[in-house]
């Protein structure tokens, strides 16, 4: 496989015209680089930079250039910078996107205007369903999938009732819909909190306490997760009601909240301890270069660059051959850090989901370890609404 890639790349270098070889492949990368969630954007940018280092900043015999843009966690600004990337910088690919509402606002700016769009995080149900497009690929998940896995875990643990909390925006609604779809027990109450500026959860936690559920399920990404975990512990709930989360306890929040999160369980399609060659290279390289564990945001961003490379390599750097690139990317055989996966009709991954436990390892670092596999080759529930096949 590697040999074939090298031969292809060498062939591409020979075939490529001088003008084309001088012209780099341009990738626009939209993420949050300011405000509170800047730390998530930094993880994504660091991972993309690491991927560039690992591939020698070359794809299909051409140089590669990544242009980073800041969405300020604001759909309006996300759309504006996406428009700039597409119309002014004339990028070949746009990737990144932490937030579902930012991706939804920016979607039409890319799709139909030439470049291909690869989401490295956000997976809103609309894009998996009726809005699906052959020029869109995800290297993450559809929002509902991870909480669906968590709902299954709660069933297996025999938890009779839960209380649900999530922020009030596109992804929050998807997360709650996901857990409601698979969880068979009773949902005693649910709160959608104001996003992103509500930082105090005292009113909601008091209600959760009064409802006396068997467990609490939450989705609070980024800094909000840190706030939630602290307030959960301060309210004395950590000892009395077990907490199950998605996208809340990760390599970003763990070093901040430390022992408050140790032992908590979360579902995810990737974990730093997954045993495959690509993941070892990625995690070790990331830790060596930046001195910290990568988050799933980083893993998905690394995969996004590798997926783009697979597409550009297949057409020997001729990015005008979109059909060729689509076909190559659809195979998903680029060696993902999550292990093998395939693409469904809507270009969202069909992949495994794992249960991860937050731990303090022997070196005194806070990280997560894989406890078990919850779903094997799991597909999202919106793919039937997507007209592609």
């Amino acid at each position: 496989m590697l040999k074939r890639t090298i031969t292809l790349a060498a062939g591409a270098a020979m075939l490529a015209t001088t003008a084309m070889a001088a012209d780099p492949v341009k990738i626009g990368f939209v993420t949050t680089l300011s405000k509170g969630p800047a730390v998530l954007g930094r993880d994504m940018r660091d991972a993309a930079d690491l991927a560039m280092e690992h591939i020698g900043a070359r794809m299909g015999g051409r140089d590669v250039e990544i242009i980073y843009k800041d969405d300020e966690i604001n759909p309006g600004i996300g759309k504006k910078v996406t428009d700039e990337l597409v119309q002014k910088d004339r990028v070949d690919f746009v990737t990144g996107y932490i937030w579902s509402h930012v991706l939804l606002a920016s979607y039409k700016s890319v799709i139909g205007n030439g470049p291909m769009l690869i989401s490295a995080n956000a997976g809103p149900s609309q894009i998996a369903g009726e809005l699906c497009n052959e020029d869109f690929f995800s290297t993450s998940w559809q929002n509902d999938q991870t909480p669906e896995a968590m709902g299954e875990v709660l069933n297996q643990l025999g938890i009779k009732s839960i209380y649900v909390m999530a922020p009030n925006y596109a992804a929050g609604k998807n997360m709650v819909a996901g857990v409601e779809r698979t969880y068979k027990g009773e949902i005693l109450g649910k709160d959608f909190t104001k996003w992103p500026d509500q930082i105090d959860f005292s009113a909601e936690l008091a209600k959760a306490r009064a409802a006396k559920p068997g467990a609490v399920f939450v989705f609070y990404p980024g800094g909000a997760g840190v706030q939630f975990l602290k307030q959960y512990a301060q309210a004395g709930l950590k000892e009395t009601i077990p907490l199950y989360t998605v996208f809340t306890v990760d390599a970003i929040s763990l070093p901040v909240v430390k022992d408050l999160a140790v032992g908590s369980l979360a579902t995810q399609m990737w974990s730093p301890d997954l045993d495959n060659a690509a993941n070892r290279k990625f995690v070790d390289g990331f830790k060596a270069k930046y001195g910290r564990f990568p988050s799933f945001y980083a893993a998905q961003s690394y995969d996004a660059i590798m997926l783009i490379k697979a597409g550009v390599d297949a057409v020997n750097g001729d990015t005008s051959d979109k059909a060729g690139m689509r076909a190559a990317m659809k195979k998903a055989d680029f060696g993902s850090v999550r292990g093998d996966y395939t693409y469904g009709n809507n270009n969202f991954p069909i992949q495994n989901f794992y249960l991860r436990e937050a731990i303090k390892n022997d070196a005194g670092e806070y990280t997560v370890k894989t406890a078990k596999t919850v779903f094997t080759a799991h597909q999202d529930s919106y793919h039937s609404k997507c007209p592609m096949n």
Binding site: S34, N168, D191, I199, E204, V256
Partner: protein, 307 residues
């Protein structure tokens, strides 16, 4: 309705309201006395939180950090006033808004350079990180109780300072008629520096108390600042009493809205509608309150200028 839950939510509302009061008190003083629109007040809140995080890491004690943070934010406030804001008093409000908005950007970048983009966390001492059983079944986090007590003490101190001391008399006089105070030979420049420093220290106090509950992060003051402006507009600009009353009002309405609106709406409409409407209405509730109060009392509840 569960009365324990009601009491707990009232305490939550009180705690949020008192924290807002500390922030709004400084804002209303500066606005009312110095006639300065200070958008950068939230930055002082952020600086207070970062100081608290750093001093806790240095000294290993949250209590010591509190003692160090207050004079440090007062000093930052005084320096900002002397270096930057003095030249703005004669300009109109639009120039002040522009300049203090620039200060927000400046402080955000400065914090990024000094502390980095990742958020910081402030660990609480053991005796504040648990929860107390106030009455049978009524469990409340001890740190939130501490916030309520500390804010009430700060409010009382402010009341004493403004109502019972010579400096407070000058502050009140400055709020009513600042030209006259200047004409009577009071050093207005020095008074302004003191007032601004005091406001900064109060914002710093709010920031440092919020730090262990939330993450200390860049831009943390900007959302709170909007609420603080709502508080001073409802309370009447320049009136500390008004800020106190309206801060408590807003804290309670916001908390009660978040706590009980979903159930109330869920009782009348189907679940899907309630899921969508309740969070939206709850986050609008304080702005609705502001609109109603301003419709009947455009000067706010307590107007400083009219006595």
């Amino acid at each position: 309705m569960n009365w324990i839950l009601l009491i707990e939510q009232t305490l939550n509302g009180l705690q949020l309201g008192l924290l807002l009061f500390l922030l709004a008190a400084g804002l209303t003083l500066v606005f009312g006395i110095m006639d300065l629109v200070n958008l950068a007040h939230g930055s002082l809140y952020m600086v207070g939180a970062y100081f608290a995080a750093t001093f806790t890491a240095w000294t290993g004690s949250f209590v010591l950090a509190v003692v160090l943070t207050l004079p440090a934010t007062l000093l930052v406030g005084a320096v900002v006033e002397v270096v930057c804001l003095r030249t703005l008093y004669d300009r109109d409000h639009l120039d002040q808004v522009l300049a203090t908005f620039g200060l927000i950007l400046f402080f955000n970048e400065l914090v990024r350079l000094v502390w980095g983009p990742a958020g910081l966390s402030v660990p609480l001492p053991e005796f504040l990180s648990n929860s107390l059983e106030l009455a049978p079944g009524l469990i409340y986090p001890s740190y939130r109780l501490a916030i309520i007590i500390a804010s009430l003490l700060a409010a009382f101190f402010l009341y004493w300072l403004v109502a019972r001391t010579r400096i407070g008399m000058l502050i009140r006089a400055g709020a009513s008629n600042r030209e006259m105070v200047g004409a009577l030979g009071v050093n207005i420049r020095f008074l302004f520096t003191i007032v601004f420093g005091l406001g900064a220290a109060l914002a710093g106090l709010a920031g440092l108390m919020a730090a262990p509950i939330s993450t200390v992060e860049i831009g943390m003051g900007e959302n709170v600042l909007i609420l603080a402006f709502v508080v001073i507009v409802i309370g009447g600009i320049g009136s500390i009493r008004g800020a106190f009353v309206s801060a408590l009002l807003i804290g309670l309405i916001d908390t009660v809205g978040r706590a009980f609106l979903p159930d109330v709406i869920g009782g009348f409409f189907d679940d899907e509608f309630a899921d969508a409407a309740a969070p939206a209405l709850a986050s609008m509730s304080i702005y609705l309150l502001m609109a109603v109060i301003l419709a009947f009392r455009p000067e706010g509840l307590f107007s400083a200028r009219n006595g």
